[in-house]
């Protein structure tokens, strides 16, 4: 179940000054400015929040958090919205879910991310045959430098973090 109640509590003193919007390097591409997003969180407008691309475009630069005159943890609030969208598998956040999910799956299996495995898992999750083409340029550059090698995803090994991941989920479910 998607909820923003815990985020609303963090933002209760927002006075809608717009310093966040003015500080955001990605605001130009957002369908609503951060200031408006916070207003929607305060008004429990869940559907509008998750139909917007605003939280997904946060690149965690922390300028809004640094400058907010109320000292609100705005970057954290963006991440908490991503977390809700991730857990609810919100359709508009499919790319983020697949990208972060694939990254963390590689970490769960081996303790550390394996860059090519992570990208392969991402391509598989997105099921878009054209997507890998977007990465041919950078991929070839990295391969030419011998920095990455084609590597098929492999099963969890002795360094896996299964127990830690499970424990975190257990604590979260209890809350």
């Amino acid at each position: 179940m998607i909820t923003t109640t815990h985020i609303k509590e963090l933002l209760s003193t927002c006075m809608q000054c717009g310093t966040c919007t003015a500080s955001c390097p990605n605001a130009f591409a957002m369908d609503m400015p951060p200031r408006k997003l916070w207003r929607l969180v305060l008004m429990d407008r869940t559907e509008d929040i998750f139909n917007s691309n605003t939280f997904a475009l946060c690149s965690t630069c922390y300028f809004c958090t640094l400058r907010c005159p109320r000292g609100l943890p705005l970057t954290r609030a963006m991440s908490l919205l991503k977390e809700q969208a991730f857990k609810a598998k919100t359709p508009g956040y499919k790319k983020g879910t697949a990208f972060y999910g694939s990254f963390m799956e590689s970490v769960r299996r081996h303790g550390r991310v394996r860059e090519t495995e992570f990208m392969t898992l991402y391509f598989m999750a997105m099921k878009n045959p054209l997507l890998p083409l977007e990465f041919t340029g950078i991929g070839l550059k990295l391969m030419k430098k011998n920095k990455v090698a084609i590597q098929l995803p492999s099963r969890a090994d002795g360094s896996n973090l299964d127990r830690l991941f499970q424990k975190v989920r257990e604590i979260e479910d209890r809350a």
Binding site: S59, T65, K82, V113, E115, R163
Partner: protein, 287 residues
Amino acid sequence: MKYIYYPGCSLEESAIEYDGATRALMAELGEELIDIEDWNCCGATAAEPMSELLSFVLPARNIALAEKIKNAGDILVPCSACYLNLKKVMVERDKDENLSHNIDEALAVDDLKIKGTRRVRHLLDVLAHDIGAARIAQGVMNPLKGLKIAPYYGCQCLRPYGGFDDPEEPVTMTGLIEACGADVFPWDSSAVCCGASGMNTKREVSGKLVQKILMDARGADAIVTVCPMCQMNLEGFQKSVARGTSEDLSITVLYLPQLLGLAMGLSEEAVMLHKNLAVADTFLEVL
């Protein structure tokens, strides 16, 4: 001081030259690095959007492992995302008892616990404040005279906590670059965002941020970075982000310890310059 060294995942693969150059420079300076055995991923910027608690527990495990190492000092972290994640644990667990309890409970599955005895330090902080520009200057064998270097700090070594530099107008690289005999290129993009992982998932947006930074850097001989994500975004997409501008945005991009190492007489091989994706021939000629 002996530093406990946390490289992070990027420094094993796509940013291997950042690892190589950091180790080579610290060895040249006579500083010992102690590796953390069995370290794990810090969660990067990927854990937080999945699970806030996981984004604390992953870096916390590394801190707990680091605390078990005897006769050592601070935890040294070259990657800005890793640095922020580790630092975030230390700052937030002090403010939030419930969080601190949850971290302890999760780490208990690996028989680990954080005591809070180690400081988390970014490589830039250590180079600027522990080593200092004077010691770098003393070791310079190959002054980089006439080179104009644009210092790029990015976000996560500065914000949100600040601490070792001004979070809006950072200056810690100035003395280090000047110690190399080079000039600091004055520009306005030193602390703006490179788009981070958006270059993978939202390139039409993040590409604009990279484009603006590279446009701003025109006139400099090189950009110097202190983060593998910033480095990759600035060096790996120069041709594609130049499309639509009538400009040539190609420019040398290298890691700070590579620049310092070269000035101190380390070879291009020692600082692994051959691994960088954007090094201009004209830059190599100056060396």
